[in-house]
């Protein structure tokens, strides 16, 4: 009877992924695009035809051609290479920022939702305070105060996202606090912490996944936005936000490709993450397994 072992997830998860993708072609598309972005992030440095930092003043501001697929920028750097290489930095910032806000938001939300009382009240007011600021301005403030580095962009993006996670988790935990299965878990010898962490919290994952995917897109935009206004990543590092900012100066003179392609990649990334939400939710929801 080894087939009823509870640790059968490995193969089952893959099969389930296949099932989810087959059921919803949009999900399959978004997972495919996501795989493409991950590939770029890991191997982009080796795959690109040119050094993203190498300047060539002779061939500055050339339109897209067979040599330079996305054209060249004002210093003659290959836009295609820069766009691909930038993927790693942009994804790193957004994944780390989302991971941090996911963990902190989950802990805060779970504690507030489970114990309630004054703890809940205090946490909610703190989150309200964060939400009361225009979030992008808050992020700018945090980066300006902490110093202009990539780490600080990550922290700033994480902080402004925490309230969203905390609220989702708080609501999901709160409605399950007195559920029969939570009480049954306590009768089985689980303390409050174990019940919360292993029995109640996992049930909040499906809506959290939707939040994660929406937030990922948003975090990328946020990071790019901060770079666009000159905070965080500094030139000549390839990063989508900076590239759009630099390219914007040349749109009027007809050199549209310098800004368009990084902008397009940024849009595609956000689009991918937003589409992935439903798929991710289905993936972590056991009720979708048939």
């Amino acid at each position: 009877m080894s087939d009823i072992s509870p640790t059968q997830s490995g193969n089952g998860m893959l099969a389930h992924l296949g099932h989810v993708m087959k059921e919803n072609p949009v999900t399959a598309l978004s997972f495919g695009l996501f795989a493409l972005f991950v590939l770029q992030a890991f191997f982009g440095h080796w795959l690109v035809p040119y050094d993203p930092l190498a300047t060539n003043s002779v061939r500055a501001l050339e339109a897209p051609s067979a040599d330079h697929w996305f054209g060249t920028d004002q210093l003659g750097r290959d836009v295609f290479s820069r766009v691909i290489v930038a993927t790693r930095l942009d994804l790193t910032i957004s994944v780390l920022a989302v991971a941090i806000s996911f963990v902190i938001g989950s802990v805060l939300g779970a504690v507030a939702g489970y114990w309630g009382g004054w703890l809940d009240a205090v946490l909610n007011r703190i989150l309200d305070t964060i939400m009361a600021f225009p979030l992008f301005v808050l992020a700018m403030g945090i980066v300006a105060a902490l110093g202009n580095t990539v780490e600080n962009i990550i922290y700033a993006t994480a902080i402004i996202n925490i309230p969203f996670y905390a609220r989702v988790v708080r609501a999901e935990v709160n409605i399950r606090r007195e559920a029969g299965f939570a009480l049954a878990a306590r009768l089985s010898g689980n303390g409050h912490l174990r019940t919360l962490a292993f029995h109640i919290f996992p049930n909040a994952l499906p809506p959290m996944m939707v939040q994660v995917s929406l937030n990922m897109g948003w975090a990328i935009l946020n990071a790019a936005g901060l770079s666009f206004v000159g905070l965080g990543v500094r030139p000549p590092t390839p990063e989508w936000g900076i590239m759009v900012a630099e390219g914007a100066n040349y749109i009027i003179s007809g050199h549209w490709w310098v800004a368009l392609f990084p902008g397009l990649w940024l849009m595609l990334a956000v689009f991918t993450f937003n589409l992935m939400g439903d798929g991710l939710r289905d993936l972590v929801d056991p009720r979708r397994r048939t």
Partner: protein, 550 residues
Amino acid sequence: MLSVKDLSVAFKTRKGQVDAVRGISFDLAPGETLGIVGESGSGKSVTSYALMRILDAGGRISAGDVTWNGRDLRAASESAMRQVRGREISMIFQNPRAALNPIRKVGHQIEDVLRQHGRATRANAHAKAIAALEAVKIRNATDRYHAYPFELSGGMCQRIVIAIALACDPRLMIADEPTTGLDITTQKAVMDLMRDLIRERGMSSIVITHDLGLAAEYCDRLAVMKDGQIVEAGPSVNLFANPQHPYTRKLVDATPRPGVAIRDLLPPEARTPDLPHEVGSRALLEVVDLVKTYPGKSGPVHAVKGISFTIREGQSVGLVGESGCGKSTTSAMLVRLLDPTSGAIVFDGHEIGGIPAERFLRDPRRGQVQMVFQDATDSLNPRHNAFDSIAEPLRRLGGLRGAALHARVEELAHLTGLPDHLLTRYPHQLSGGQKARVGIARAIALDPKFLILDEPTAALDVSIQAVVLNLLADLRARLGMTYLFVSHDLNVVRLLCDHVIVMQDGQIVEQGPTATVMDAPSHPYTRDLLQSAPTPPAPIAAHAPAKAAE
């Protein structure tokens, strides 16, 4: 007046077409009350939705005719149906609180309906709404007019819903499980009121219910549905006394009623000899002056006001009362999920009421006191399969791992009649009865001495309830467990318990041996409860030979 011929309803789903109703026919005469009885999934609600043409998206009437006073309702246009709904045929839904708009005063909601159908003008709507409230016997109708639904009890809300349904003097009222979720005395009050109002106005009605006893008491004629078909129809008395179809007989048998033994609920071929359980003389649990008081916004709330009782080893005790009487609080304290405000809980000679709930988790006696929860669906973690749910207490408290754990879980599945292959399934892939078995298997995993059963069959169909009750009786005899059976249903308690405790308003009003309390109740509240239970006509013909054979 209403004539349904070969009605079929089909739903388009991802897995293809599902026929929810398959060719049913019935007629309803003016002034007649028809009961449609069936278990969940039998298509009884879908039938009523089809009559009103309010099927969910994807559902459609695939065949048959519905004729209402000479008009073809199947072919009627949507605007014609809007005139029929509410004005000629009205409907009462299951959950009265959900049927009312939570943010509008109930009086305004009645006015809305009156004015929508041109039954009242702005000037006289208020007076007519109050008259409607008075018609459903709501006291202080002028004050209640301004109440919001959340300020009213479930029974009151259902009266408002009835008032809205009757506001336009319809000719037919369809009531879909009108009293599910209401207390037994409230159920009787609501049903009596509905019957009286319908008779007064000479209306017809269709009552859809899973409760055969209730239907038999209030309906002239019954139609029993199974898998989308009417298997048997006839006058209530005949149908109950002399069921023809095997399924009807099974339902009649499974309905708990006075004068039958627990084995009689099962179909005759499944009846095994009753296993006797021994009641010892030693007290297993002594409750002394138990009190629970919650701090409330308007002063302390006394949920349990000093109750005392004793449960002997091997005894099965029924704890009976209506919602809010403190029975759930009591069971939560006994199972040590909740700390009592004062009083003692002496289990097996040791005081355990004083041990804080969080510390009792690591007490060696944690496994000795277990509980089966009310709603089997709610009590299983949606992310754990059946195996993990049953294994949880064994892992945490029993310290079992690997092969020993597997062997024990399989043994428990076998004991509770759960097939092995279902162990890998998640709760949403199991039926109600199977989930109940998983819940019971988990509760008895650690061989508890004392098991609290909190309405374990309340959410189950009667035929499954019959099986689960018998399973509980068998387990009690085999494992020598002591039960505290918490329930609102006296007929169920009568079947399983040796001793009954009746609670009202946080206090015990009566306790004693089951036969004494049930047959010669001394407290007026107990009498009230007993009289409110629907009393189906005794199925004499069906059971006389069976009794003689025993």
